[in-house]
Amino acid sequence: MTSTLDRPSSSASIEPPKPLPPRSPIGRVRDIFTSPRSGPVLVTALLFVAVFLIGGARYRGFFSGQVFLNLFVDNSYLIVLAVGMTFVILTGGIDLSVGAVVAVSTMIAASLLQSGWSPGVVIPLILVLTSFLGLLVGLMIHVFKVQPFIATLAAMFLARGLCYVISKDSISINEPTFVALAVTRIPLGGGLSITPSVVIALVVVVIAVWVLGFTRFGRTVYALGGSEQSGILMGLPVARTKVIVYVVSGFCSGLAGVLFSLYTLSGYPLTAVGTELDAIAAVVIGGTLLAGGYGFVLGSVLGVLVLGVIQTIITFEGTLSSWWTRIFIGGLLLVFIILQKVLTARRR
């Protein structure tokens, strides 16, 4: 039917719309920076480079490959968490349960491994359980129209409580395979190395980039954040997508928990308290709009790196106390929220 459109229009008297005047290069750059899609990410990228350069200028030994790689080594679990959180926030939701789910994952891992289970069973089991919890949360949000904030709050209570059901105390892990995996370093040449956790986190990132950018499910995630109503009217599988993002977040939290237990080789009920705030902050600083619809997984990774580099600088500084991290994160969060507000307000 569209072929018939190609023939000359019946009302030739009407001029076709004039093409927009070409933008100046400065105008183009400004467009990119003021776009709610790319603006915040670029600001974050510049911020990261700037902070890294400042660190390099101030401290000896800061400007090294290993310091950079350690950002990934120390934060691989947070990267995975931020990836899951990105899915949720892109739809306009939020997941407060991730920290508690990380904790309960470390507890399950530690207790089962200590009672002689094989990691080959324990790790998949954790991923299945946390995905299932995500499914329950998603159903609660979709079917019963419970606000994401409250539904994930319930999941947070549940997961934290289950930690103590498993054990009140810290359980250390000394299962040989698991320990071996934890201490393995993958050399990159030149004295640089990373851990298997980094590889896992990066694989998760690559998959997430592909899913969000190049699959129908991924685009529907964005559609949900743009306008759920429009998504429904466009005939997109809105309901299914809305539930699945929480499954994704649950899965990522479980995986992050496994990585965290590799990092600490223990399970502890009070671990990762407030980690949900770090994950949310990383996602927001990474340029994802809290109202949903705009953002990239790579931006969230960048957000984690910014948090990591601030932490590193504070460590290097020595005199600067650790609580400045929280204040910096809060300040950055505020700046980016206001930036988002300004960029989106311009368009309405």
Partner: protein
Amino acid sequence: MTDTREVREHFPADGATPVVEMTGISILFPGVKALDDVSFRLFPGEVHSLMGENGAGKSTLIKALTGVYPIDSGTIVVDGQPVSFTGPAAAQAAGISTVYQEVNLLPNLSVAENILLGREPRRFGGIDGRAMRRRAAELLEGLNLDIDPGSLLGSHSLAIQQLVAIARAINVDSKVLILDEPTSSLDADEVAELFRVIRSLRDSGVAILFVSHFLDQIYEITNRLTVLRNGRLVGEYLTTELLRIDLVQKMIGKELTTLDEIGERAHADAVTADRPADYARAEGLGRKGAIEPFDLVIGEGEVIGLAGLLGSGRTELARILGGIDRADSGQLDIAGARTRLRSPRQAISRRIAYSSENRRSEGIIDDLTVRENIVLALQADRGWFRPIPKKRREELAQSYIQTLNIRPANPDALVRNLSGGNQQKVLLARWLAIAPRLLILDEPTRGIDIGAKAEIQKLVYTLAENGMSVVFISAELEEVLRLSHRVVVLRDRRLVADLENDGLTVDALLALIADGSVDDEAPLAPLGESS
């Protein structure tokens, strides 16, 4: 019901079969029959308009066709097949696409994605971005639209977004394209561009259902019209065979309830006596995209009726006078003093009250009690730290419940549990409680029962007798004529006439609303700009 219908059997001339045939459609909402035994047909290669005022059932009918609402009775046949859509996706699959007034696309995704999402070309299990942009570019070219398919939809004007929505609809291989008020926010050039696309689609055999409030556009683009009123079918007509004035009359209809208690207003005194002192005087007051600059004088104790179709600018004018929307041009004098109304609050402090046409969403506070709703505006004006004494609140509530005959007569009842007419009375009571000098009533009698309607009309009459200025909006012209000293006519967002209600007739008003040309025999003399 069949007696009110005029379904002509002779078109389309070639005896083509309709692509959509809806028969005997009824839809019940709680307490309301939104559609009552309505039939509707749509033929390939025509532009068909659905006409009607507020509550006529236009959008309900469209939603029934697109699977948003389930129907309670009747049949829908598409392409000879009886269908029963479970949702918009199912309707789309059957070739029925809709472009809504509020562009229902995704501003955060690219133009190409908005056109093709859900049907995107794939490669290696993922979306093939390049193929998608290529396909989108083809479709946009077909619409003569030169924009980058990779750009964000939100970065384009509403008009272009509208065309992108159409491009999406075309891609689905639509047999039926529904355009629900696509032109309400477009300027003349953009409308021309849209019409070019509509014609081209029509010529290719698509059936187009076009809804608009602009009569000029209806007569320019449509082949046939179906008119609805109060959820019922009035008739189906060829556009060329239906005079504008007849169309307007069919849309507005004749309300046959006469209210003997009021009788005819003594117009004589309005004309013979001196004009009352001015209470409000607007000069060049206007707001871009809502209402063209207008001049209007409202005298003390005068009732001004606003007549015009839905979307004519009647509500927009009233909202500016009531301080709900800010004017962006012109000036307003209230009681001789230059005034700028920046918020409803400022209007209220000057004793100007605007009662919204959207009773539920902008009027009543449904979870508060009758008493609280009545005192709300007065209390807000006094400020929270100066509560109205309990006794006074009780008196206010009791006296308005009595005067306006609000049922149930229980000040503690939640307003959500009242009938529409009683909710309207509560809203009226809220505004009367601030002792307004200018009361603006936007469709206060819509959707309420005859008894309540008569009471409200009587009230307006009495209030004006006692010196209150009233601006009264109603889709029922008899009602406007019965109550008003002067009638102001609006069309296409413009004030087109300002007339003394001295021998005005419904027919004369209809003529003005329809196309502004005054019949020769009609004894009309528009007032001077600001005499």
